[in-house]
């Protein structure tokens, strides 16, 4: 099958790649571009471990085709910190121990970033529903919610 040539922007960089027409954006990121921060937990859009932001919209990259990234902006976990300065959400996840195994963490951070971009001052309930598309099996979500609350207050003050 002939490859599709794609030109896109990933974490602010221009990127070009060839992919198969049926190849997911997640597979392109992981297998072709070496961006393995997005994880495949299910491949069916149920777990959110592959969350990315596509043109300001939170999506599961396992449900997007690689070819669909043409001409668009992709944000992944690898672009969240600025150099060695962590994003407040990343810092608060560490301080609150909002991760145990950490496999869901990139997806949660991306989803939380999207949530706070749209709602900088969410209630606990809004955080819980805002992150309901991401599965975590280790933490019971308690420390994740607290980390997001704490990051939101830091970001408001900034």
């Amino acid at each position: 099958m002939a490859g599709v040539a794609v030109s896109t922007t990933i974490n602010g960089d221009n990127v070009e790649y060839l992919c198969q027409p049926d190849e997911t954006l997640l597979d392109v990121l992981r297998d072709r571009l070496g961006l393995t921060g997005a994880k495949e937990g299910c491949g069916t859009g149920d777990c959110g471990a592959c969350s990315i932001i596509l043109d300001d919209r939170l999506v599961c990259s396992c449900l997007v085709l690689g070819a669909e990234a043409e001409g668009r902006r992709v944000e992944t976990i690898e672009g969240m910190a600025h150099g060695d300065k962590l994003h407040p959400l990343q810092q608060k996840f560490l301080e609150h121990a909002a991760l145990q195994c950490g496999i869901c963490t990139p997806g949660f951070l991306i989803a939380a970033k999207d949530l706070l971009a749209k709602n900088p001052d969410p209630t606990e309930e809004e955080i819980r529903f805002g992150l309901a598309g991401n599965l975590c099996r280790c933490t019971g979500y308690d420390k994740i919610v607290r980390a997001v609350q704490d990051a939101a207050s830091v970001m408001k003050g900034a």
């Binding site: 099958m1 198969q20 992981r30 961006l35 393995t36 921060g37 997005a38 994880k39 495949e40 937990g41 299910c42 491949g43 069916t44 149920d46 777990c47 471990a49 992944t76 976990i77 690898e78 969240m80 910190a81 962590l86 990343q90 996840f93 560490l94 301080e95 609150h96 121990a97 991760l99 145990q100 195994c101 950490g102 496999i103 869901c104 963490t105 990139p106 951070l109 606990e124 309930e125 955080i127 819980r128 529903f129 992150l131 309901a132 598309g133 991401n134 599965l135 975590c136 099996r137 280790c138 933490t139 019971g140 979500y141 308690d142 420390k143 994740i144 919610v145």
Partner: protein, 754 residues
């Protein structure tokens, strides 16, 4: 080695603090490498063909068409994994589970595998493999499988543990029995007796990371395996034995692990990946899909349990009895036995008897799931305990306090307890504000207790001191949830240095001696013991070097707060030497400074917890909502309290999912109907409230700092605590888990109708 593991009271500088974990930044930036994040040059993609039948004889497998497909580099069947198990029945079962030999025993059982240049070719090749099945009658329900009329999965199984050897094979592999006293006499003394039957459905650990590995077998007979596992040393042993390799020639590196909870203690794909690589002569990456994880890795048992408990009017339990039937999948296990051992472990009983039956069914091979088998037994027992308290007219907490095991109590499974936490967790629960909070309409409160043995096991650790005074800690226990942080704290504590001066890594199987799995809540317990021992050995060397630098007898040198100090008035002018100073001089005083430790960490202190929860039930739909949840558990000593809280919260959340939602659903054809996260619904963020925790510290006498394992006990009480809360809210006793809306509604309607 003169290591003394006994507890002695002390004050701590590092242990008990809450620093950021050493692997944290990599995990929040996407840099950490998990099972599927590793690649090798020239690697092939592996895929597994699985049986669509619950039970079928494999007459013939024709792989010729698949082999001819361009891009296919290897196709294997059971014939490529010859039986080298040499009469070891447990290993044979592992081999047969990795690749079906004569029969497919469950929907999802591997029957063949391919390695190809890419995923598309590998998937296409699977479709070209022709398997000729003779479909056989199947059984998936634990009670059905025990009936004489049930199809027998393995005609060489004759029930063990019964007085007369059975004349016919059956699906019951073993009967086990625990207890003491005379239950008949005990029930005769009872004023009240509660007798109930319970069922629990099969659940999966539900780790978010599917099983993944990269295997590379070289033509010189050596091999490398990169894999997400809870125990790379055990994987090495199993894989080496199944493939006929010497263990030392197989180097296994454990990747970061995306959750295990007991499910990554068994090999499935790894021997297959190695066999594919051996045949293809190239590295092979094998990653399970989520569907494969559900269908073909190891869920927990489905159970059927009968409980009978009797008590006097004053609230003293006089006798307790349980019969427990646990599904094992198609291979023998000891799941019911663990249920039989743990069922009444919280209580002080003069007369107790438990009987367990291990039952084969056409479902995937049961694997450990966090305190394996204990939650179901606790559900049955703690539900009956609540009912009995109600009949007597006693508060359920007071009733449990009255009957709680204590130091010196002979446990229902045999051993006599040392200092234990069941009484203190109950007292703490009784006094917790949660217990006194008001409840609204359709709301109910429940509480329950739980027990887990905890495990120690074989552990090997190296501690190396660099010339700059920084410390490398190499451990062989896989870090499943922050143990590198807690072990660094322990090394810092013992050496008297800063946490930041220590860097802990999980070493591969060629770099360190054998370590048991990270299971049985042993990671921090056993590896901290080994770290303390290694640090004390390093301190001995540090003292020797300081003595040499000062030219004084080593017996006059002590180690305090990270420094060597010469004790005695005659040494008054000698300034203390820091670890850093001694390390800097090491090249001239005898070379590298290190401490090594190899030990069997005996004496894992048993663990108890009490949970409280509030549930609201919608009487119109049967839907439930968790309003409030509190965990009280004994940690012995919380090394990193934040991660201890995390274990308590995570176990509670898994228990909530198990109690209310999660179950394997099989259709009449024996096929799994809900092999995905959409239909097998684990709790999401909006399903749960904050989970409050209270850490108690009753020191374990068999650990220098008093540490007990904390990982597993937290999943034991939730099924029962929630069942008690739902029963109180709905006004009807719930006896079947999960308490999904249809089951709750049916129970409410039956009660109304009755």
């Amino acid at each position: 080695m003169n290591f003394d593991p006994r507890y002695s009271s002390r004050s701590f500088a590092s242990v008990g603090t809450r620093p950021i974990r050493p692997d944290g930044v990599d995990k929040v930036t996407g840099r950490a490498r998990y099972g599927a994040d590793f690649n090798m040059a020239g690697q092939l993609v592996g895929r597994v063909l699985r049986s669509p039948h619950a039970h079928a004889t494999i007459r013939k497998i024709d792989t010729s068409k698949a082999e001819k497909l361009p891009g296919v580099k290897a196709v294997i069947t059971a014939a490529d994994l010859p039986d080298l198990t040499d009469g070891d029945a447990a290993m044979y079962d592992i081999l047969d589970n990795c690749m079906a030999r004569k029969k497919a025993l469950y929907d999802g059982h591997a029957v063949a595998a391919v390695a190809a240049v890419d995923a598309r070719t590998a998937t296409q090749a699977l479709k070209l493999i022709e398997v000729d099945y003779e479909v056989l009658p199947h059984v998936t329900d634990v009670d059905e499988a025990m009936k004489h009329s049930a199809p027998v999965l393995n005609d060489s199984i004759f029930t063990e543990g019964v007085e007369e050897k059975p004349t016919k094979p059956s699906n019951v592999t073993k009967r086990s029995q625990y207890g003491h006293g005379d239950v008949r006499e005990g029930f005769a003394q009872a004023d009240y007796v509660v007798e109930r039957s319970f069922k629990t459905e099969q659940t999966h650990q539900g780790y978010i990371e599917p099983h993944a590995c990269v295997a590379s077998v070289s033509s010189d007979g050596t091999a490398d395996l990169w894999v997400c596992t809870q125990g790379h040393f055990v994987y090495r042993q199993h894989c080496a034995q199944l493939l006929g390799m010497e263990a030392s020639k197989l180097r296994v590196t454990s990747s970061e692990i995306g959750g295990g909870f007991g499910g990554k203690t068994h090999v499935w794909a790894e021997p297959v990946a190695l066999a594919l690589s051996r045949k293809a002569g190239r590295p092979v990456k094998l990653v399970m899909t989520r569907d494969e994880v559900f269908r073909a890795s190891g869920p927990t048992s489905a159970t059927s349990i009968d409980v009978k408990i009797g008590a006097r009017k004053d609230g003293t339990i006089t006798a307790a009895e349980a019969t427990l039937r646990y599904s094992c999948g198609p291979y023998a296990g000891m799941w019911a036995e663990l249920g039989a051992m743990t069922a009444f472990a919280c209580y002080k009983l003069d007369n107790v008897k438990t009987v367990g039956y291990e039952v084969l069914v056409n479902r995937p091979k049961t694997a450990a799931y966090r305190a394996p088998s204990a939650p179901m037994a606790a559900f049955a027992v703690e539900s009956a305990v609540d009912e009995l308290a109600k009949e007597i007219g006693m508060d359920p907490v007071e009733f449990r306090i009255r009957n709680a095991a204590q130091e010196g109590t002979r446990s229902s499974y045999g051993p006599v307890y040392g200092p234990i936490g069941i009484g203190p967790t109950l007292e703490a629960a009784k006094n917790h504000p949660h217990m006194k909070a008001p409840l609204g309409k359709n709301q109910g409160r429940g509480m329950a207790c739980g027990f887990w043995f905890n495990f120690g096991g074989q552990t090997c650790t190296d501690l190396n001191i660099g010339m700059d005074g920084s410390v490398s800690l190499a451990v062989g226990t896989v870090d499943v949830g922050g143990s590198r942080a807690s072990l660094s704290l322990v090394a810092a504590e013992e050496l008297g240095i800063a946490y930041e001066q220590v860097k802990a890594v999980v070493a591969d199987t060629s770099s360190l001696g054998y370590n048991d799995m990270t299971d049985g809540s042993r990671g921090t317990f056993s590896s901290s013991m080994a770290t303390i021992s290694a640090a004390r050995n390093a301190i001995k060397v540090l003292r020797e070097r300081a003595a040499q630098m000062w030219d004084v007898p080593v017996d006059d040198v002590v180690w305090e707060k990270g420094h060597a100090i010469a004790k005695g008035e005659k040494y008054g002018n000698l300034a203390a030497l820091s670890l850093k100073e001694i390390a800097a001089a090491s090249g001239k005083t005898g070379g590298p400074i290190a401490g090594h430790s190899e030990l069997v960490a005996d004496g894992a202190g048993v663990s108890f917890a009490t949970h409280i929860c509030d549930i609201e039930v919608d009487p119109e739909t049967g839907a439930t909502r968790v309003l409030r949840y509190t965990v009280v558990q004994d940690a012995g000593k919380a090394v990193h309290p934040t991660y201890v809280e995390g274990q308590y919260q995570g176990g509670a959340a898994q228990g909530i999912g198990w109690a209310l939602n999660e179950e394997y659903i099989y259709a009449k054809d024996g096929r799994l109907q809900n092999a995905g996260f959409l239909d097998y619904r684990i709790p999401v963020c909006s399903d749960l409230p904050m989970i409050d925790t209270q850490i108690l510290e009753i020191p374990n006498p068999n650990h220098p700092y008093g540490v007990r394992g904390v990982g597993e006990t937290s999943i034991v009480p939730p099924l029962a605590a929630i069942a008690n809360a739902v029963s109180n809210a709905a006004g009807v006793r719930m006896t079947h888990i999960p308490m999904s809306p249809p089951r709750v509604l049916a129970a409410i309607e039956a009660e109304r109708g009755g």
